[in-house]
């Protein structure tokens, strides 16, 4: 197959078509899953992705979606998965946070990376309700539909909502 080496910016733009299969309103770039795009000496595009959680079942699908975009543009490419440096919610862009919120998912708050510590009771930080903006919210379950989210309820508008956990 004949392929022309693209430049990195061109590939990045094309990859904006790839969204998270479980949160399809956010691109993998805005979630920080897309770690690196390089064009190797042989002209092949090398895309590096990283999982949000060790057991994230979406990784294979994301890799396949990336391959498909590369193929659509006629670029030869490889997808690599890396664990290091570990993904954190700090990798989510401002645009990604806004997209989550518009989709009804409260974006992550500050992270807590302390040593062994066990904090009980109500979390010290509560996400604002993505629907009405109230901060009078309570956690109903620490785990939600995917590993990366917890389930909350707004005490003002009474609506339940997902929260992208700080991680």
């Amino acid at each position: 197959m004949t392929s022309f080496a693209p430049d990195v910016a061109e590939v990045r733009t094309a990859l904006d078509a790839v969204t998270d299969p479980e949160i399809p309103v956010v691109t993998i770039a805005d979630l920080g899953i897309l770690r690196e795009v390089e064009v190797a000496e042989d002209g092949a595009v090398e895309v590096t992705i990283t999982p949000t959680y060790s057991g994230c079942p979406a990784m294979q699908e994301i890799a396949a979606d990336v391959q498909q975009v590369l193929a659509q543009h006629g670029w030869a490419g490889r997808v690599r998965t890396t664990l290091s440096p570990a993904w954190t919610t700090d990798w989510i862009t401002d645009r990604g946070r806004e997209a989550l919120r518009r989709h009804g998912i409260a974006p992550p708050g500050p992270r807590n990376d302390g040593p062994v510590l066990v904090q009980l009771g109500r979390p010290s930080w509560q996400p604002a309700c993505p629907l009405c903006g109230s901060t009078d919210t309570e956690e109903t379950s620490r785990f939600s539909s995917t590993s990366c989210k917890s389930l909350w309820r707004c005490r003002s508008c009474r609506e339940p909502f997902d929260h992208f956990k700080s991680h």
Binding site: P51, Y53, S54, G55, C56, P57, T82, L83, S84, P85, A86, W87, T88, D113, P115, V116, L117, V118, Q119, L120, T140, S141, R142, F143, S144, S145, S147, L151, K165, H167
Partner: protein, 255 residues
């Protein structure tokens, strides 16, 4: 960069960690559709899924270091009981929900300490997995601690059962802190976390939860051991049979 330790040693050490995570993930999976609430069903399976993800990365690293052409699936599905080197704590039967949470508290507190220390391992592959896994383990510990306190400091019945579950699993924690020649060599090579240095923080984290839960720290009356050398409790064979039978009945099958 990788460590200068013999790769067979590193592979064996990483395999222990991988087996710990894999076996506990399998146990948690047994709660599917049987948990006290739908939210807890989702929670236990999410914790299990994290552990399974950690296990896959660890087994893949062990297979790579071993260099015998095996992959993560070969290690998970085609080894026999005596070849598994997980500590026995991780294979203990679920029992009731209290016992499962007691096991999870001890296991997650261990994982937080060991993964945190291994984030600086001389084996880069292991360090990467650990740095990712420690964040998940913190969340698991938090979840288990919340339940242990709620049940321990709950009704007379929940307190009684929480204490009974804790008493059952407690002796098995000692094996986590054992030091054998492999661990000695790996600690010296900067690959492994020294279990002796992890024990004080583990103990204080666990005991602070138990105090809030109004539970008493069980007296250690016996110290079961042997998991690291492939000796397991009777129930483990049944766990493996369930986990492995499809892969063994249809070798190489995919879907």
């Amino acid at each position: 960069m990788t460590s200068t330790a013999p790769t067979t040693d590193v592979a064996a050490y990483v395999l222990r960690l991988g087996d710990d995570a894999l076996v506990l993930a399998q146990r948690l999976g047994e709660w599917a559709a049987k948990s006290p609430t739908i939210e807890e069903d989702v929670a236990l399976l999410n914790v299990g899924l994290d552990l399974l993800g950690q296990a896959r990365s660890l087994l893949a690293r062990a297979a790579e270091l071993e260099g015998r052409g095996r992959g993560e699936d070969d290690l998970a599905y085609f080894r026999d009981e005596r070849e598994f080197t997980n500590a026995q704590l991780f294979e203990l039967e679920n029992g009731d929900f209290g016992r499962t949470m007691a096991r999870q508290l001890l296991a997650s507190a261990w994982h937080v300490g060991v993964y945190d220390a291994l984030s600086d391992s001389a084996d880069e592959g292991l360090a990467a997995v650990a740095a990712k896994a420690v964040k998940e383990a913190r969340y698991h510990l938090d979840h288990a601690a919340t339940w242990v306190v709620r049940l321990g400091d709950g009704t007379d019945e929940s307190h009684r059962r929480m204490q009974a579950g804790l008493d059952d699993v407690w002796p098995f924690a000692a094996e986590l802190f054992e030091v054998d020649p492999l661990v000695e060599r790996m600690v010296a090579a900067g690959v492994a976390a020294d279990p002796r240095s992890l024990e004080p923080a583990w103990r204080s984290a666990v005991e602070s939860v138990l105090a809030q839960a109004t539970l008493s720290v069980p007296e250690t009356t016996w110290a079961p051991t042997g998991g690291r050398s492939g000796v397991h409790i009777e129930a483990f064979g049944y766990l493996l049979a369930e986990m492995q039978h499809i892969a063994r009945s249809h070798p190489g099958a995919s879907w």
